[in-house]
Amino acid sequence: MNFQTVKPISRRNFLRGTGVCLALPWLEALSARGVRAASAPAVVPRMGMFYFGTGMNMREFYPDGFGRDAGLSRILKPLEPHRGRFTVLSGTWLEKGGGHGGAYPFSTSIAIGEKQAVSPDQLVAELHGKQTRFPSLQLSVKRGTGFGSQVLATISWNRQGVPLAAENDPQTIFNQLFRPTDEQQQAEQADEFRQRGSVLDAVLADARQLHARLGAADRQQLDQYFNSIREVELTLRREIDWADRPKPQPDLAGKNYGDYEKAVAPEGNGKFVYDTYAKLMYDLIALAFQTDSTRVITYVVRTELAGGVYPEFGVSKGYHELTHHGNDPKNLDELAKVDTIYMQHWSYFLDRLASIRDGDGSLLDHTMLGFSSGMGIGHSKDLLPTVLSGGNGLGIRHQTHVALKEQTPLASLWQTMTEKMGVTIEGRFQDSSGTIGELLG
């Protein structure tokens, strides 16, 4: 394979694409399910988990009052058109959160520095992943895992407690999901599969040779290598399975979708505009759900510490600087302003999902989207900005604002969503206090 011959995609995306292609099962280059299999259930549930790093200005977040008609706060005002399709949950907390390490316990309740465990989205992927081209998707505003630093870029963890790397380039993701494999690629594909397979065999043999000569402690380290090889082999097998099915072609015409060919990734160049980016990313999620390319997604919308503020927001400082507000009214005001912009994008996302027909309702009816943060305001463990949206058609009963029992672990929300996806959790997920009855009606 010669890199210069791969013409249509830019080099950066091509290279990155191939990297991710192997990296994540969902980024395989493959075919789609044009028609949903006859055996598929009448309603296909989907779910997404979203991380907004560094908390929000919680002084202007919670609705006024409780119940369906609660008055929306400044930050949540953009969600007004979707009343009845979301619920703000006050009372959630993260025992191990409340600081910039808060992304670590976000989905698993396990503190930074501790051995991690499988995250809810991966439990769902184990059940639903067999039926979709990509078992799950990891998206983020920052690429990779960021593991070890506070700026964690992913909230997905596999069975070994290893973080799953996220992708941040809309064009790369779009191509992986929808770009048809051209003739040349198809011709090369068989060779590529064979080569990858035999390399995996050979390095596994190497690993066994090495393993035999290592002491016990070193062997434990090498276990990660064996696990990874096993996963990569599974991915390869999956790719081969899907190779002869064409990818779905989403219908983008006349629906105000952005141009994925011209998409700019956050670390790209001066042409990056967050507003455009946010919409491209949310639309990708909608498209991936619509085409049943995957049923579960995690998305780090905003990381800890860095970023979160872009020139077009018209505020004077970075997000992290603003959260260290020192009770300065101007900082708090600008913080709320930025949070409101993020909620405008969220509303755009809900609009999109609501506009797509799915079975007997809309895509939003069959999709549960939970977002929160690793902290509330001022590094607090409670006062989290927790909201569940969508899923009315899956039996979620929305009521705008619900006060949960104080210190209800965030894991309870994940358990609620996970069980609604049809996953049976024996006992409780992490420190969850069980499913949240208020949401189940």
């Binding site: 895992t145 990569v232 020192g326």
Partner: protein, 855 residues
């Protein structure tokens, strides 16, 4: 999840199962030999157990049953809660007898120490160096050295491999260098790409070409219509004269056969040459020119900036080789020290000033009228009226541009060195499996950094055979084999396998001396972040590397090699935390002088300083205080130091009246300890204690808060507001041993400028309160100002030496420091001292220590 609640049972943990606190604490005394515990026991007994004991157990908490084993997560969590409650002054509650400050301090300190010990134990490897994978820098450097490869922009493994985890402050520690499936796949992808570059078929797709633009040709083109309207540009015989503005390439420069305006048809390295001469201005200033590329990525725009010192009539070539990708467009040459030859406004008029005045008076109609008049009369911009005072252009720096030449893509050789090195038999060699065996028998020992036996060749040869049998070309088969070698754990991991096969999984093998090859790798990954070179391999094969005098002389050789820059980048960057310097951006309205060049310079300063100390064998105590600086022109301007031109860093003697000198006077440190509008003394204090003394303070209680802005009408300094906070007794306990380290730096503002009076936030005018940087260190030494503070730190130079030795220990061994390392660290400190406190003497001591040379 039960796994996470599991009691950890490894190591000599403080495993206690006790029914009463007193017993618990006494036992801890026996185990840890610490004098505090007795006090802690009696404190809790006296102040807490009445409510949190068998009688009441308020909040479901029974401190009489709380065990002192911090390695159990739930115990540790409860202890943290206890510490937070007493630190916050919330316990004992109102109405109960408060806990005296000394007792808060000792109890809280005891808990913090226990937590730290438990954390260390969790990280502990029992003093052994564990198997670890390379971090992404090491991977990239290793490939570069192994295959003599250079990576153009966007094609380095660093652009694909994600950032690595860190532990104990460095990306060298095995417990943080995890491997997950996505990384595994990326290793494979990267290895395939490397193989593509390493072995080539036929001539390059884009041969090296020379492209030249003669500037006089612009006059022949349509662009002349543009040129003749400009005062600052003039076609002259043989070229173009530039006084103001810039000239583009006007579509006259492109790679042959291309339709776009790009000189780079493929990612690679290109040589850019400008032939130019100049007239200095009346003040002797020579023209400075900048060659730039129109490019969507801002960081790719600049190609070179250079002073044209060659005279007008004897132009010289100014050249640079830089990586380019295919996204660039037109090139342009600009004169940097240009003179504006046009008038900004009508003589006698000052639109800006009048406009501002109108704005202040809310007279918007007048402001609009002024702005409109300025446009209508054609003032401002480069189409404005020539300035009559500047008609004699001979007074200004002028540059004569002869030609601009681009050569590329450049290849060191073709086929590349990797190709000829691996396929040693040349193009005529017989391409069969026997040759492939020879190829890999030669290649693998270098790739895997040790001798490789026949059995180990088998898996790769199986891959090569399969490719050949599937009809792939020999080159392609070798490429797949190469990708295998680079994806193998034998390449990715720094492995030190047992010499004999371990028979029992649980047996703790006795320590053994490293093999010669293992030692070569430890040494080269320590100082070069890469594989050993031929010399190290040769010594290892001969079996003489492990000799003390040989190790020592290899250190000297390796530090003299340019590859030792990677040690600066790897160690100093992480030790001095330069990655964190720009976490907060200074407010652009308060600190108008702050710009990108300064941001870049403040991050580089400590690294360049370290390089100087390392290479010139200066004392490490210079980090505490120095009589020199290592700065460039931008920093010199920032620090008010005259006579420094050019953006390269160099050593400059410290002027007698300058407050600079040492790490703590560097602007990057001050910026890191600021939030953009005000200083954060606590954060600076933490930096001083952790970086200079490896002595992290106890963590703050939750919601510890920030320094708040002044209430309307008050003008308290940051220090005064911090002191208010300290009046809460519970806070004072910790803060008195912390704050002085940060308050001592209060004379340095958010961007590291010296200030005698409070600035930032909304402090303006002349009557701002003065800065007080005095204080008392925990050891009792008083200081009145920053200079005395530095002197007080000099009194603790042994603490600093030891802290530095510990950091480098972690970096060199890839594991945390263990109590058993103490004697070796003491020796390292002594040897450094007797070696004039040079980094070299510390490094030599470390590589000769028992921990470094044994597994």
């Amino acid at each position: 999840m039960s796994a996470i609640r599991e009691t950890r049972t490894n190591g000599p943990a403080i495993q206690l199962a006790l029914t009463g606190l007193i017993v618990a604490v006494l036992t801890v005394v026996a185990t840890r030999g610490d004098a505090f515990e007795l006090d802690v026991a009696s404190v809790l007994q006296e102040y807490c157990v009445r409510c949190h004991g068998p009688q009441k157990a308020e909040g479901k908490l029974r401190l009489d049953q709380l065990k002192a084993d911090f390695s159990v997560r739930d115990n540790a969590a409860t202890w943290i809660e206890v510490r937070n409650m007493i630190n916050l002054g919330e316990m004992p509650p109102d109405g109960e007898e408060p806990l005296p400050v000394e007792l808060i301090e000792s109890t809280s300190g005891w808990i913090a120490a226990g937590l730290r010990a438990a954390e260390q134990q969790q990280l502990s490897t029992g003093g052994r160096v564990l198997l670890r994978r390379m971090n992404r820098y090491e991977y990239t450097y290793t490939v570069a050295d192994l295959l003599s490869m250079k990576f153009p922009t966007g094609e380095s493994p660093l652009d694909v491999l994600p950032p690595d985890g860190t532990a104990a402050g460095f990306d060298k520690v095995s417990t943080a260098l995890l491997l997950d499936p996505s990384l595994m796949s990326q290793y494979y992808t990267v290895a395939r790409r490397i193989a593509e570059r390493a072995i080539v078929d036929g001539p390059p797709a884009f041969p090296t070409e020379k492209m030249r633009l003669e500037f006089e040709d612009i006059a022949e083109s349509g662009a002349i219509s543009y040129l003749v309207t400009r005062l600052g540009m003039r076609p002259v015989p043989g070229g173009l004269e530039l006084i103001e503005g810039n000239t583009r390439s006007f579509g006259m420069l492109r790679y042959p056969g291309r339709r776009d305006n790009n000189v780079a048809p493929v990612n690679g390295f290109y040589r850019f040459t400008v032939r130019a001469g100049g007239w200095p201005g009346a003040d002797g200033q020579v023209p400075r020119i900048q060659l730039s590329h129109s490019h969507p990525d801002d960081s790719m725009k600049s190609i070179m900036e250079v002073d044209v010192t060659a005279p007008w009539d004897k132009p010289a070539e100014y050249s640079v080789i830089v990586p380019r990708d295919t996204l660039g467009n037109e090139l342009s040459v600009r004169i940097v020290n240009e003179v504006s030859l046009y008038m900004g406004q009508r003589p006698g008029e000052n639109f800006m000033q009048r406009n501002n005045a109108a704005g202040d008076e809310n007279d918007f109609a007048e402001a609009l009228r002024l702005a409109g008049r300025k446009v209508a009369e054609g003032w401002g911009g480069d189409r404005s009226t020539p300035d009559p005072d500047k008609l004699d252009v001979t007074r200004f720096p002028r540059v004569f541009l002869d030609y601009l030449e681009v050569e590329g893509p450049l290849y060191d050789q073709w086929p590349p060195a990797s190709h000829t090195g691996i396929l040693f038999g040349g193009e005529d060699a017989k391409t069969d499996l026997a040759y492939a065996r020879e190829v890999f028998a030669r290649f693998l020992p270098r790739a895997w950094r040790r001798p490789v036996d026949d059995k180990e060749l088998k898996p790769i040869l199986a891959v090569v055979r399969q490719e050949l049998e599937s009809g792939e070309s020999f080159h392609e088969a070798i490429r797949v084999g190469l990708a295998t070698a680079l994806t193998s754990p034998k390449f990715l991991y720094l492995a030190e396998p047992a010499v004999v096969t371990p028979s029992d999984d649980n047996a703790v093998a006795a320590t053994r001396p490293l093999t010669e090859f293992e030692l070569a790798s430890r040494l080269s990954y320590f100082l070069w972040s890469s594989m050993p070179d031929d010399e190290l391999f040769r010594l290892a094969a001969r079996g003489t590397l492990s000799r003390r005098e040989e190790l020592t002389s290899q250190v000297d050789r390796m530090l003299a090699d340019p590859k030792s820059d990677r040690f600066v980048e790897g160690f100093a960057r992480q030790w001095l935390r330069t990655d964190t310097f720009l976490a907060f951006t200074p407010d652009k309205y308060l600190y108008k002088e702050y710009d990108d060049k300064l941001a870049d310079a403040v991050v580089r300063e400590p690294l360049e300083f370290f390089r100087e100390v390392l290479q010139e064998d200066l004392s490490v105590l210079n980090f505490i205080d120095s009589d020199f600086l290592v700065i460039n022109d931008r920093l010199a301007r920032h620090y008010g130091i005259a006579g420094v031109t050019g953006d390269e860093f160099r050593r400059v003697p410290l002027p007698a009246d300058s407050p600079r000198g040492g790490l703590l006077a560097m602007a990057g440190v001050h910026q890191a300890g600021s939030d953009g509008i005000r200083t954060k003394p606590i954060s600076r204090a933490v930096y001083v204690r952790e970086v200079l003394f490896d002595n992290p303070p106890d963590p703050p209680p939750p919601n510890a808060g920030e320094i708040e802005p002044n209430v309307q009408g008050e003008r308290l300094t940051v220090r005064e507001r911090l002191m208010q906070h300290q009046q809460i007794q519970a806070c004072a306990a910790c803060h008195r041993s912390l704050d002085p380290y940060g308050l001592a730096l209060e004379n340095f503002n958010v961007i590291g400028l010296w200030r005698d009076r409070q600035d930032g936030e909304d402090f303006r005018g002349d009557k701002t309160p003065p800065i007080d940087a005095s204080g008392r260190l925990p050891n009792g030494s008083d200081f009145r100002n920053f200079d005395e503070f530095r002197q007080a730190l000099r009194q603790q130079e042994d603490r600093f030496r030891r802290s530095l030795a510990r950091k480098m220990w972690v970096y060199a061994l890839g594991r945390p420091v263990e109590p058993s390392d103490d004697p070796m660290l003491s020796q390292a400190v002594e040897e450094m001292k007797s070696g004039k406190d040079s980094l070299r003497s510390l490094i030599k001591s470390l590589v000769n220590s028992k921990a470094f040379v044994t597994k």
